[in-house]
Symmetry: C2
Subunit: 346 residues, 2 copies
């Protein structure tokens, strides 16, 4: 991390000592350069490059901001500190010529830095606000200052441990689990812990709290890659839940420049449209907004697989959606006693 930042600094320094206007080369992130790669099974950036050049008057400000952001990231890495995206934005306040107009602009420059250096912002210790949680038999070893070498098992706290900078940067030491079960809601996470789903299904439980933060997607990827654990994703049966699963599986266009965040072999196990029929689940009617979103997903290149097209069609035909909690109709333990065993084939 520090090397790539130092490399960027040296490059600019050399350009200046050579009496050049400094510039940076990076892949274009414009929509026409983002494409779905069926081989990588995720969005990737195409070959088009752009040059951000300080000779160009329109480029001077974002160029300077990028250099400042890289300096800020270097400070973070050097001092072993982390920062949220919002703190980066505020840290630039009051610095003339760098100050961002809004956080969107700041986030955007951070993404530029990711592309230019080919590393995720988390590698530079920049995180979004934490909100996901993890629970299950996984022993980790912390690497954050003050906790180096300290090991802990993630079954210690039955309410779950937050996934923040410390868990994200930890080493995975040992697990007896043979799968990962990802849910999108805290309520279902609590339910699964309470029903001892981690024991029954021998699983590590992860709660994404809506769209999965990148750090959490990275952890899912590591569990899948390092321990060869199959990953099962369990979401609301509506276009938003489906897409939470898809982003874990295939990533997003916004992160087309990054690798190691997707888990292409992860499986979305429900709530399916066909589950609504098979399990006679309580439903809500689709809103117009849901409808529009389902149609968008149908045309999204990530949704070409059979299951996806079939289930999207079922939702559209039923004109209904169902939440994870809908299974409570059959009692609170039904989901663990009946539904998940059927879905996990156990």
């Amino acid at each position: 991390m520090e090397q790539s930042l130092t490399g960027l600094g040296n490059l600019i320094y050399e350009q200046i000592t050579n009496h050049e206007f400094p510039w940076i080369h990076m892949q274009s992130r414009s929509t026409d350069n983002i494409m779905y790669d069926p081989e990588e099974r995720q969005y990737v950036l195409g070959p088009r490059m752009i040059r951000r050049h300080s000779r160009n008057i329109r480029h001077i400000r974002p160029f300077t901001q990028l250099v400042w952001t890289a300096w800020f990231a270097k400070e973070l890495v050097m001092h072993r500190k982390t920062s949220t995206l919002r703190e980066v934005y505020y840290s630039a306040r009051g610095h003339r010529d760098i100050e961002y107009n809004n956080q969107q602009e700041s986030d955007n420059i951070i993404t530029d830095m990711e592309v230019a250096l080919n590393r995720a912002r988390e590698d530079f210790h920049i995180f979004p606000e934490e909100r996901s949680a993890i629970f299950g038999d996984l022993t980790i070893e912390y690497t954050v200052p003050g906790y180096e070498g300290r090991r802990t098992n993630l079954t210690d706290h039955p309410d779950g441990v937050m996934i923040g900078p410390a868990v994200t940067s930890s080493e995975f030491v040992e697990t007896s689990a043979d799968k990962v079960l990802v849910v999108e809601k805290g309520a279902m996470f609590t339910r699964l812990v309470e029903e001892r789903a981690h024991d029954k299904f021998n699983a590590i439980l992860i709660h994404t709290a809506g769209q999965s933060p990148r750090a959490t997607r990275g952890i899912i990827n590591r569990l899948n890659q390092d321990y060869d654990l199959p990953v099962y994703i369990f979401t609301d049966g509506d276009p938003w839940g489906i897409h939470i699963a898809m982003v874990i599986i295939s990533g997003s266009a916004n992160a087309a420049h990054l690798r190691g965040l997707t888990t292409p072999d992860a499986e979305w196990i429900g709530v399916w449209g066909t589950d609504i029929i098979d399990y006679k689940l309580p439903t809500e009617p689709l809103t117009e907004f849901d409808h529009k979103r389902l149609r968008e997903l149908k045309n999204d290149p990530r949704y070409t697989g059979d299951i996806w097209q079939r289930e999207l069609d079922v939702f559209l035909k039923l004109e209904q959606k169902a939440e994870l909690e809908a299974f409570s109709r059959y009692g609170l333990t039904y989901i663990v006693d009946e539904y998940l065993p059927a879905k996990l084939g156990s």
Copy 2:
């Protein structure tokens, strides 16, 4: 808990065996019966009682729903299970004459049950979705099934532990902390952990994730009462942040029937309007909505204290607001090195 539920069941059973239409007596929760009690320093219910009577055709449905909800709560307590509000709503689906039209209706009946039995829903194992977190030198002993008697120290995980049913129902065993520091945002929580604020200020750190869930308010109350720890609340400098602090201090009208959730001696330490001036913080202009809310707070009986009126006036006069992260302008550690010591007088 179980006794009060059994008591309710027995009462209704007796009424029926006496050939009466069963009914329940409870305090009225209508606005004109909710008043601010300056002695208790929180909202309380007035003396007006209502009777929910199954002889009254308009009452039959909510009466039946209340009895069903009490039965459901009894099941939870008996089987040592917890449920979210949403699961309660779904559990009633498919039961004719009980099924709720929406979750609002179900939540409302749960509140009726709280009033009728004079106990918080958490006592009946009904929780909202968890999202707050805690960190610091507090040893707790779990009481949830499978974890009985297991002790853990809340500095184990530097990303923090979620406050769910297990932490909420735990016994507090021991702490070396001499204060509680409550923040409304995960980002600031992570910052405080990273800067070792728990060591520097000898504090237990709590992150409410916006408006503090009741269980979290209960924990703050217990730390204040059981260990005599002063509580300091640190929020965004805007009407929404101010009100997060106020609800921890004085409670909400919705919970006027409950005790043990407020911490009247807790102090809101910032971000004040005067901090914006004193620390030259980066700000955003107030929106019309902020403005309206500030005026409402000025007339709210909980806001009679001098500091509150002064600070509300400053915000209105400045026409500006500031976030917790605004201090990053002076470097990421400024908040822990300068601001908090000044505010905590340490």
